[in-house]
Subunit: 494 residues, 2 copies
Amino acid sequence: MAKPSVEPVGAAEVEFDHECDVLVVGFGAAGAAAAYEAAAAGADVLVLERSSGPGGTSAQSGGELYLGGGTRVQKACGFDDTPDDMFAFLTAALGPHADAEKLRLYCDGSVEHFEWFRARGVPFKESLFDAPGWMPYTDDGLMWLGENAWPYNEIARPAPRGHRPETPMFAGGILMDKLIAAAAEAGAVAHQDTSATNLVVDGAGRVAGVVARRFADRVVYRARRGVVLTSGGFVDNEEMLADHAPVLLGHDKVSDGTSDGSGIRMATALGAATRRMASVEIALTANPAVICRGMLVDGLGRRFINEDVYPGLFSHRAVQHQPGPYWAIIDEAGHDEIDEADMWGVRPKHAAETVAELEGSLGLPPGSLEATVETYNRFAERGEDPYFHKDPRWLRPLKGPFAAIDPADGFFGAGRHGAGTGAGGFTLGGLDTTVDGEVRNNSGEPIPGLYAAGRTASGIHGEGYISGTSLGDGTFFGRRAGRAAASGNREAGG
Amino acid sequence: MAKPSVEPVGAAEVEFDHECDVLVVGFGAAGAAAAYEAAAAGADVLVLERSSGPGGTSAQSGGELYLGGGTRVQKACGFDDTPDDMFAFLTAALGPHADAEKLRLYCDGSVEHFEWFRARGVPFKESLFDAPGWMPYTDDGLMWLGENAWPYNEIARPAPRGHRPETPMFAGGILMDKLIAAAAEAGAVAHQDTSATNLVVDGAGRVAGVVARRFADRVVYRARRGVVLTSGGFVDNEEMLADHAPVLLGHDKVSDGTSDGSGIRMATALGAATRRMASVEIALTANPAVICRGMLVDGLGRRFINEDVYPGLFSHRAVQHQPGPYWAIIDEAGHDEIDEADMWGVRPKHAAETVAELEGSLGLPPGSLEATVETYNRFAERGEDPYFHKDPRWLRPLKGPFAAIDPADGFFGAGRHGAGTGAGGFTLGGLDTTVDGEVRNNSGEPIPGLYAAGRTASGIHGEGYISGTSLGDGTFFGRRAGRAAASGNREAGG
């Protein structure tokens, strides 16, 4: 099948239209961080953005930043965190097989990184949102992301590390406004509506720029010191999903629509290595406030996890490992406890006086949900959950009337929209990079002049994910890549 | 970390020690098939093999070949199979996301491919081994591989398609003896103790040979028409496993020890694309004869599949998706039914009069296995398995005394050996190839002069696996790659 060529182009075959020291491809969070640092280090920086404005997927995100080790916000909220506890938690939660080298740097540098955001003008309110949820409906600056749930509460001293700009719900816009302004102020110049299509390579095998497309025009950029690829992942590229992360096929895409994998492909065309291309983030539109007080069951009416974990974890476990459909089960007493704002517009649809009735109306195997609820209640009576270790504060025998909610119905009365599966996500795998964002070839050596960060690269993640770790590692290693590119040796004759 | 370089070498920078038309790298099943066809088409063929003798992992395998559509053996055993039924079964069983284009050719060409093996002297006895199992302990030439288990029995008309050379247990040796002899007879010449390390590329970007190592010497080969990479997968390369298929880390390796991914890496270093690098085969040393009559439960005492499926499927479901440890549960009546030879040397270790006792000694959550057995028995009484649809012929209420077997104890009294997890496997992902074995670059175009087959390539598999599909597609597409390479245009000046 003919695809647009991503093959590298020889420097001798092109005429350059623009020149800079550091060329950043993609103006999301990682690109803004790289552009800021490269410009602050004195480099002449151009940023290419394929959309008509900057921000990318980051600007549409929740804006969570997974930070800790004793930030100002954590201290103000009364938590005494350490880089070691943060490292232990993330090693488990982003694993198995999280990247220990990157993670160590990320945790040790986390307080500094938090202060960097503050210095760029990102506002963080010094208050904790202390409830299970995907995103606070308040403007609190700190939230739990599963650190206090089993087994993580036994692996590291729990402290909340979800930091977020001061606004209710989606905070990615505020974050990106500040980072884009900071990059511009430092001197980085953006070229919008400009899609990089191919890397330009000189005779010595060094990346010397990119070929790009702006509407109908071909525009060629020379980068004297380095090219930093920060163009996102590949969730919008169906063929790449089928080849590398098929679990996301058919689900919604957490993306601004431009996560087409082009950064990854331009680099692999040049012989760059990849890592963890099958790793993904998946979110299921199940409401944590509901399932913490009730349960989440699979298509066989079985629980499969402690429902008080980080929501991305129950989502991942469901979509990757359990037979669907999934059902959030709640009783009247539990439902009545939940703040209206915390329901995210979800209305129980299937109501029944008994579990047997509910089970029948959901089409579950006969006796399956009854057995699940009977077992749950028997142990909940004693404040125990020997199967999954849900925290005792959520344990209470469930009593009729009951209701079930189909996550595929979505939040805020959306009904079945998009893919209609109730699940969506993005890709975590990408280019194999050093801690300074240098892109490695298949022999483990950096490709001269080529850097990557954000979801174009494989970051701190193994097979797991926690909110705020993608913006977190994208900006952290984006900054490092920007600095490394700015200090890169000039090419011969540059 | 410094790794041996797999970067391509320019043809102008080397002096060739040997020349041929078609150079095949790796003398397992795919390599033998490619070498035979290329030589039979009149090409001058050299085969490089890194070990001191040919055969590779294929020679140590069970020797199953997944073939059907109406072979001579199927007919003799009374089965009326069609390519369409075979296609429907494999689309489901190798999926989700099996390769439809390759699979269609594979199924339509299956009878011819079977006859090709016969013509090469591979003996197939025209009799059926009609019992659940990993491998027959008889010399029967045909076996079921889950075609008659739910849901596959509703997807395609069931017919057994596991074809195997006439010998009890491991038949890969016989298979490879015949294929190696056939390749030699056709004129292919093998260079042993010779490891290919880098591809040689000419100025036009065409693959023109390989650099290899033979003990301390560097030996350079010129291939006038094409290089066919058939050097296996990457299960023996821990770093590649961590990067691409971490689920196999820590488990046993189904390999002759040389599946180091070098063929894949040499090609990706040149900009070749990969597919499905996370797909794997996994086998759990649980005995199908036992669990069909009893049950297989996970670390929470729950069943998770109809135990009469193809054994690789219950293995895959367990290791990829269920919390361990896993237990094979059987009652005395079931145990007494099993032929001694069919026990594969397995001795029940944990015995108990009641399920409650057994559950306690296995350390399962209180009441968990009891609930599982109670539910199983209640429905088995009526010949039903509404959860997992095990065939009624295996359904019978289980009655004490009971026993449990830990798959990690292995077969044939091996005890805990190797990795000690009871699971092992190999990789299914690899280079992105056309149906003629041409290796594609990241733009979807064939790289001139470069071919691949067997586990160096991504074949017919999506995320699933069935015994005999790896030797099957390796030989089928190996033959096509050999023919395509033999007919390749000679390089300029060749």
